[in-house]
């Protein structure tokens, strides 16, 4: 991949929680349109890495660049821009429980992007069609299944037209059937050329959809490479063991 094509550039990132070093010199690059899966055991630092890229955590060393803007250092002036470039979807959906589906989606459109109510509503209808929930426009989050809530959360992020979507174990709280419907939406996004970084336990999904696989272990990028290659040829015992236990 050509160097200047990278939309996310992570270099030597160090993240510490008190005395605990969670990320220990992590680095990789993501090209536009690429789908990246970050896998690894619990505690390997993969979710923390994603939260750092999203600007939700400060970093103690290294650099993170998203669409050319530095992330994670205190007082980053580019924070507003980062918010425009990056969409984040969480394991626990984090919809706003007091607002209906439409308002969940239009809130940031009207407040942050200053779109008119009508334009925001139209956008909400559009993104809901993408995730197959047109009929839930006026429902409240608690009236939806977990899978539906997660699809609304994806739609809410998509409505802001981000350059990159981050997914943090978005199916971990869902049963297999609901997991499938959320993964289908994500696969569809990947096919449409959205740049995606996904922290996941769904090895089948990673294998099917991700072009780049990152295996995290003990706060480091332990193995990285094209997904098919890595699965066919694990270079480290840790990764071989990991895919052995997950599949």
């Amino acid at each position: 991949m050509p160097e200047d094509d990278a939309v996310v550039r992570v270099q030597g990132v160090i993240k510490e929680f008190g005395p605990l070093r969670v990320l220990d010199g992590v680095g990789f690059e993501v090209a536009r349109g690429q789908t990246v899966a970050i896998v690894g055991r619990s505690g390997s630092g993969k979710s923390t890495l994603l939260r750092c890229i999203a600007g939700l955590e400060s970093i103690q060393g290294g650099n993170i660049e998203v669409c050319g803007n530095a992330v994670g250092r205190p007082g980053s002036a580019a924070r507003a821009q980062l918010r425009r470039d990056v969409g984040m979807v969480f394991q626990s959906y984090n919809l706003f429980p007091h607002l209906n589906v439409e308002r969940n989606i239009t809130l940031a459109l009207t407040l942050v992007k200053k779109e008119s109510k009508a334009a925001a509503r139209q956008k909400a209808a559009e993104v809901l069609r993408l995730v197959g929930l047109t009929d839930k426009l006026l429902a409240y989050p608690e009236q939806l299944s977990g899978g539906q809530q997660q699809r609304v959360a994806i739609a809410r992020s998509l409505a802001l037209s981000p350059q990159i979507m981050l997914f943090d174990e978005v199916t971990s709280a869902l049963d297999p059937e609901l997991t499938a419907e959320v993964l289908a939406v994500m696969e569809d996004l990947a096919r449409r050329g959205m740049t995606m970084i996904t922290v996941t336990h769904e090895m089948g999904f990673a294998r099917r959809v991700a072009s780049l696989l990152v295996f995290m272990h003990q706060g480091k990028v332990w193995e990285i490479g094209p997904t098919a290659e890595l699965f066919a040829n694990p270079k480290t015992a840790e990764f071989a063991q990991f895919i052995g236990s997950e599949l």
Binding site: R83, S157, L160
Partner: protein, 215 residues
């Protein structure tokens, strides 16, 4: 000595209106102050948080009676003579502000941290996060304990009687001084307080049940 009559009862009821008025002043003033204190308590600035928590500790650690003495007699000595209604209104506002501030801080912090993160990721600034995401959820959590605290305010207005403000408790003393029927009179006074507070208690319990049952 006068015979206890309906005009005495009427006098108590008129005085009860002042109890209600003072309660409303304390509640409205305390709400405005309390919201400011609550927001200061969850501020990003350590200095602002320290000021708010110092205020809360000061008021919570001082008897309301002493606050009343200070604002009426104390300020009077240094030349700032307040009428009893104003002195009592200020004292109760200071008192309610500290307690409501602390109650509401808890309610704001009870909104999950993930709501902050989600709204942050959508690009909302801090004021927008409060206005559209955090406070609407905090208000729902806050209603039962707030209504419960209103009962405390109503009862504590009786302390204003010591600075000569004629509300329900003071009116009871005055009627008693002329009729000397303490048992009957103060039973009436208690009954009127009860009539004011009981509906609030019931409302608080009902709201709490409803909040626990979800939206």
């Amino acid at each position: 000595m006068n015979q206890l009559g309906t005009n005495h009862l009427l006098y108590l009821l008129v005085a009860a209106q002042w109890t209600v008025a003072l309660s409303l002043i304390a509640f409205v003033g305390g709400s405005v102050l309390g919201l400011a204190i609550a927001l200061m308590r969850v501020s990003k600035s350590g200095v602002v948080r320290a000021i708010a928590s110092g205020y809360i500790q000061l008021i919570q650690g001082t008897p309301l009676l002493i606050v009343l003495f200070l604002s009426y007699f104390g300020l009077g000595i240094i030349g700032l003579k307040l009428v009893p209604l104003v002195a009592a209104g200020i004292s109760l506002t200071l008192y309610a502000g500290a307690f409501l501030g602390e109650i509401w801080r808890g309610c704001i912090e009870a909104v999950p941290k993930t709501q902050w993160e989600a709204s942050d990721c959508l690009g909302l600034n801090r004021a927008q996060q409060y206005t559209y995401v955090i406070l609407p959820q905090a208000v729902k959590i806050a209603i039962p304990p707030t209504v419960g605290f209103m009962v405390q305010i109503v009862k504590n207005t009786s302390l204003a009687s010591v600075i000569g403000f004629v509300e329900l408790a003071r009116a009871g003393q005055i009627v008693n001084n002329s009729t000397f029927e303490p048992f009957v009179i103060f039973t009436c006074v208690a009954a009127i307080y009860f009539a004011l507070c009981y509906p609030l208690s019931v409302a608080s319990r009902t709201l709490e049940r409803r909040a626990n049952a979800g939206r």
